[in-house]
Symmetry: C2
């Protein structure tokens, strides 16, 4: 009985691993080809697996892609939670959060994925909800950090919620530009812009965030 259970578990684990592998492959393909041009055969090829297997694990292509996005969103949300509850002063945590938003390269995986998802979310309720939850998580994280700062007397604002909303919208707009490689903006300038706005909004003296680096 115990062994039977152990064996069954092991098999379940194998399936879980395979599913995770397929989701990861799907993500890679989507990053290269985009959500709408991703083919089931691409995911199969990337995993060196037959086309049929994809449908063995995921009923339809839509399910595969939706689950992939859900998985990614959950991963990102967990990361957000970790940052919000991290150590350090509110100033340091705010700086950390803002840095985390900056695309790590012109084709930062996360950003490419979510810009694609925004478009798909225009017509797909499920996708809209997924990206909305991710959005809400980051927003909430900014709100928590800002509120902490206000409570500690480090920040001054009468509406932390509104400030969080504005900073996260600004970061989305900036991240979009960096990811789309708009001329005249890069990662460094994005961080600088975020810093300036945060200082203005939170009654900080210019440069105080710049020196907050952990």
């Amino acid at each position: 009985m115990v062994q039977a259970n152990a064996a069954r578990t092991s098999r379940q684990e194998q399936v879980e691993l395979r599913r995770a592998e397929l989701l990861e492959a799907a993500k890679q393909v989507v990053l290269e080809r985009g959500l709408s041009h991703t083919r089931v055969a691409d995911v199969a090829a990337a995993t060196r697996v037959s086309g049929g297997l994809i449908h063995y694990h995921f009923a339809t292509k839509d399910v595969l892609l939706t689950e992939m996005l859900r998985t990614e969103a959950e991963r990102d949300i967990a990361k957000a939670r970790r940052l919000a509850t991290g150590t350090g002063t509110a100033l340091q945590r705010l700086d950390r959060v803002m840095r985390e938003f900056v695309p790590s390269s012109r084709n930062d995986q996360t950003w490419v994925l979510w810009i694609d998802a925004w478009g798909a979310g225009l017509r797909d309720e499920t996708l809209r909800t997924i990206s909305e939850e991710l959005d809400a998580a980051w927003n909430e994280m900014l709100f928590v950090v800002i509120s902490d700062g206000v409570a500690a007397g480090d920040f001054v604002t009468d509406n932390p919620r509104a400030v969080a909303d504005r900073i996260s919208a600004l970061l989305d707009g900036l991240g979009l530009r960096v990811t789309l490689q708009r001329p005249g903006i890069n990662r460094k300038q994005m961080h600088e812009h975020a810093r300036v706005v945060a200082e203005l909004e939170l009654g900080l003296t210019a440069g105080s965030l710049a020196s907050a680096s952990t």
Copy 2:
């Protein structure tokens, strides 16, 4: 000879009208179905025309959609220019510009189109350039209005370019949220957020932009 020319012009005009009609139909279909799910047959049906005709006027579907976006971008850019060179104080013009950015409804045509185009631009150089030019036009317009305000002594900032960059990124982030119907944000709040940031950035007293309405 003169008559011959007149006749020929008339034919050319017919073709221009038909092309414009097809581009408009393509836009409507894209708004409903999205860039990637738009079929040539949809555009044909919307125009009550045979599928063949689409390809008579546009070599491929890609050409059709790209030209449609180019046309829309040009229209928007022209509108931006008109606003920037309009009458009134810098304060009034800035307010007008910011209002123009706010989606007119949760499915504002312009916003839906460009959010879709951002995603497509991730992998299509041509589309990226088109949306980039539109972006640059609005950015430039903000810059001009802000610079005017600084010259007139109405605004205070040592870097009008950076302020324009930040405000336009903020507006993109907010417009995205409104268009995706994120909870906790609507058109009114978007305008309010933009107002607050502009006042902070330009050394205005709170509320001065609110009373700038033309």
